[in-house]
């Protein structure tokens, strides 16, 4: 535990297939801004950003306990409980708790693996840490 995405940016080619997979699954649109995983190319560097499921600052910050840790160790958001304050977005040290302007609730990676399945180079995987 926890279950999380593993990212290997040496293998990433910044094709964006993961972001397409994620945003299409979650929001039914192909929009990198609505993807839980983000790939950014900064010159020769490629940054892969996604929740590591371990720091859990967002869970502590949530005033309504809408953020909880699943039995698999994944930080999950219950949108029925969420009041949209975005404190979790602000407190996230890696920017992996996402917010899209005008959307009522934040969103984040739940390590579902949809992006990993679409990754053509094996840069993304699912790991379960003991």
């Amino acid at each position: 535990m926890p279950k999380r995405l593993s990212c290997d940016n040496s293998k990433c080619i910044a094709c964006g297939a993961c972001m397409t997979a994620c945003s299409t699954l979650f929001f039914k649109v192909d929009d990198p801004k609505r993807s839980c995983i983000r790939i950014e190319q900064n010159g020769p560097e490629i940054d892969m950003s996604v929740c590591n499921q371990t720091c859990r600052l967002c869970v502590a910050e949530c005033p309504v306990k809408a953020l909880t840790v699943s039995p698999q160790g994944v930080v999950m958001l219950d949108r029925k409980l969420c009041v949209g304050c975005l404190a979790c977005v602000a407190v996230c040290p890696t920017g992996a708790m996402r917010h899209y302007p005008g959307l009522a609730n934040p969103f984040k990676c739940i390590a579902c693996g949809a992006c990993a399945r679409k990754c053509p180079t094996g840069a993304i995987g699912i790991v379960v840490e003991e």
Binding site: A87, V89, A90
Partner: protein, 722 residues
């Protein structure tokens, strides 16, 4: 019995319905419902009232709405305990959004038992926002019931009920728990319930406060925030209201239906990030709340010690922020409304009470806030944090204002020191400096309405008259040391070395609370406002600016208890310009209406001047009512002067132009007093002029016309005085 320990079924069985009102549920539109709720607990009438376009334009919301409804309900002859007096509760248009920190405030107004004029309190907890989302921009409570009642507003179903409630507790920490147990379906539903209540002390004193609840899901406790000042809890219990309860279960970002959610989120997120990044280097609000101020005030000689005689104590370390940090629970999202990452609503959990009717109980004590630490600590010579917490707990649950209790007890202790009181007169209580057990027992007697507790609960102004009449005390000395103005006890800052703050306190409309202006650093420490005109400008701008929080349903703290990293390099750092612009942005994002900095001040100035005229209508609001007791201006006693003799001697030489060598201390006190009192009068002249008032402190017709509040009944109040 339920798992909460309350026999909810038994309590419900004892209820007797009085009246019921069904209303059409409608969504909030851009922060407004444009209707208010009227409840008369005397005759059972419940009705909704439309808000006119003129009222909305002139009074904005929150305190503005509360005052307008109160004005229409009372006459110049109305006393606090007349049935027509009201307790009015409203958040404002921006209030209740979950995005911008500090957006959950309710503003309560009433005719005060201690001042006889309108009092207003800005309080946290969930009630005001839930009331709005249930369909009403304000709640008017009028009348007086014959037997104890509860008013229940079910915002889910669109029903308002009044019922007699003989069985519920009166003290708030029990009653608030009973209300969540009674009206919530399950544990998760408890967060959707908020109650307003007072306590047994509010029944037996004039310094009663209201408790607004907010259910803390982690602690599993209905926590309380206080509408403390001016005795509104006393009015509430006089009306025989045990609780007003609201339920609203559908809170999300659309509840307030903002015109531009994305902009609201963007502005809120910016401030969240600023707080999370900078707070631990600035005010440590997330760690310890306002209690971080104690050591700062002590360091600058501003911490009221022994009835404001002194501004510091070598013992203050005992009650500094670190002492309380060791007791409160850390790491919880302690906002009193959703989305407040400033999270200053701290609490000590599992605190075992050592005295009183709940002795041995383990309770959650909210706070302590700075005002309570100072008022129930240093100002009464108590430096034991557990005594401060116990006083805090009992004040809250009895429905007693910690500030008025602290200042009143400090006055009593100084009267004891001067032989005005003795144990015969106090019923055996040795109410001496630092006697924590005696202070607690005094509080319990106020709670029980017993013996000297009944005298202490009258507040400082009435005690002055009582001690002069019954004990032959010198009225002039009592006036000098009794720290009240207009009948309201001072809050907890020493203002002797800041003329601007003396004005900020005693020219405050409702009485000496620091929420109109806190200018001590600007004036005394940084000397940024040296002239009378500079001070008058500050005493115009800041009261107007701060009034705006009360119109909108906002908290003052996220304005300047966190500052942007580059704030010091702006033109006017004391105003925190970037945060002012944030407020303009969120106002527009919620209401859809443009507002600039000048427009913000004008919104406030309308309501501020209306409140001023309201005070005049009720018999105060004159120049003479703005005079402070000398203790808040300079040293009254030889002991006090000599404790800071170097400072005062220097001032005599350099400012007054008097050579103190060869003068005895009483002569030096007299010379300094003449100088300081003259400067205060000059400040009054400058401030009144800047506010558009006459030399007597009366708003001119031109001022009222300019603000668009020259209603015939308003003009009628001021005309004879011009």
């Amino acid at each position: 019995m339920t798992d909460t320990g309350f026999d909810v079924a038994g309590l419900k069985a004892s209820h007797r319905p009085v009246s019921e009102f069904r209303y059409e549920k409608r969504p909030v539109v851009a922060g407004y419902n444009d209707r208010t709720l009227y409840v008369n607990v005397g005759d059972g009438r419940i009705a909704e009232k439309p808000v006119s376009a003129d009222t909305r334009a002139k009074f904005t919301g929150g305190k503005g709405y509360g005052l307008k409804l109160l004005w229409d309900a009372v006459t110049p002859a109305t006393k606090w305990n007349d049935p027509e007096n009201e307790v009015n509760i409203a958040t404002g248009p921006v209030g209740g959004n979950t995005n911008y920190p500090g957006s959950g405030k309710s503003i309560v107004v009433s005719i005060s038992p201690t001042t006889g004029i309108p009092i207003d309190c800005n309080v946290g907890g969930y009630f005001g926002p839930f009331l709005k989302f249930s369909g009403f921009d304000a709640l008017e409570l009028q009348g007086r019931a014959e037997r104890d009642v509860i008013v229940y507003i079910d915002g889910d179903e669109g029903v308002v009920k009044i019922f007699e409630a003989p069985g519920e507790a009166v003290d708030s920490h029990v009653l608030a728990e009973q209300m969540v147990a009674m009206f919530a379906r399950d544990e998760n539903d408890r967060q959707h319930i908020s109650s307003v209540s007072a306590g047994s002390g509010a029944e037996n004193s004039l310094i009663g406060c209201l408790n607004f609840s907010f259910y803390d899901k982690r602690r599993k406790v209905a926590r309380l925030k206080q509408a403390g000042r001016g005795g509104i809890g006393t009015v509430f219990r006089d009306k025989k209201i045990k609780a007003v309860v609201v339920k609203y279960s559908s809170l999300d970002v659309t509840s307030n239906n903002p015109a531009d959610l994305a902009k609201l989120q963007e502005t809120g997120l910016k401030l969240h990030r600023e707080i999370i990044e900078l707070d631990d280097q600035q005010c440590r609000m997330r760690e310890i709340g306002t209690a971080h101020l104690t050591e700062i005030m002590n360091e600058y000689d501003l911490l009221p010690t022994c009835n404001y005689k002194f501004g510091s104590s070598p013992d203050a370390e005992g009650i500094n922020s670190h002492a309380f940090s060791a007791i409160v629970t850390h790491g919880l999202p302690d906002g009193c409304w959703y989305g407040c990452t400033m999270a200053c609503a701290k609490a000590a959990d599992g605190f075992e009470l050592a005295t009183g009717p709940y002795k041995g109980h383990k309770v959650t004590v909210d706070g302590p806030e700075y005002e309570t630490v100072a008022g129930c600590g240093a100002n009464i010579g108590v430096f034991d944090p557990r005594v401060v917490l116990e006083l805090n707990f009992y004040c809250d649950t009895y429905g007693i204002d910690t500030i008025s209790f602290g200042t009143s007890t400090a006055f009593i202790m100084e009267c004891w020191e001067n032989g005005i009181l003795d144990s015969d007169r106090t019923g055996g209580l040795e109410i001496t400096w630092g006697n924590g057990p005696a202070a607690l027992e005094l509080l319990h007697r106020i709670g029980r309405g017993e013996g000297f507790g009944l005298v202490a609960g009258l507040g400082v102004r009435r005690m002055k008259a009582y001690f002069a009449e019954h004990y032959g005390a010198d009225p002039k000395f009592l006036q000098d040391i009794g720290c009240e103005c207009k009948g309201l006890e001072y809050s907890q800052y020493v203002s002797k070395e800041s003329l601007a703050q003396q004005g900020g306190y005693s020219m405050a409309l409702k009485g000496p609370q620091h929420d109109e202006a806190w200018l001590i650093f600007m004036d005394m420490v940084n000397n940024r406002i040296p002239t009378f005109e500079d001070k008058a400008e500050a005493l115009y701008y800041f009261p107007m600016f701060r009034t705006w929080f009360g119109l909108q349903g906002l908290c003052k703290l996220p304005w300047n208890d966190i500052e942007p990293a580059d704030n010091a390099s702006t033109d006017e750092p004391a105003k925190v310009p970037e945060h002012v612009d944030n407020y303009l942005a969120i106002y527009k994002a919620v209401t859809g209406n443009d507002l600039d900095r000048e427009g913000l001040i004008r919104q406030s100035a309308r309501v501020y001047n209306f409140q001023k005229v309201f005070c005049i209508r009720m018999g105060k609001g004159r120049r003479i009512d703005d005079l402070p007791p000398y203790r808040m201006v300079g040293p009254v006693t030889v002991e006090e002067y000599e404790s800071r003799a170097d400072r005062y001697d220097k001032q005599l030489r350099e400012q007054v132009g008097v050579d103190p060598s060869g003068m005895d201390t009483p002569a030096k006190i007299a010379a300094l007093r003449a100088y300081r009192e003259d400067r205060y009068e000059k400040l009054q002249d400058a401030v009144y002029k800047r506010k558009g008032w006459t030399r007597e402190g009366i708003p001119t017709i031109e001022t009222l016309q300019d603000l668009g509040i020259d209603y015939p009944e308003v003009v009628e109040v001021v005309k004879p005085l011009l």
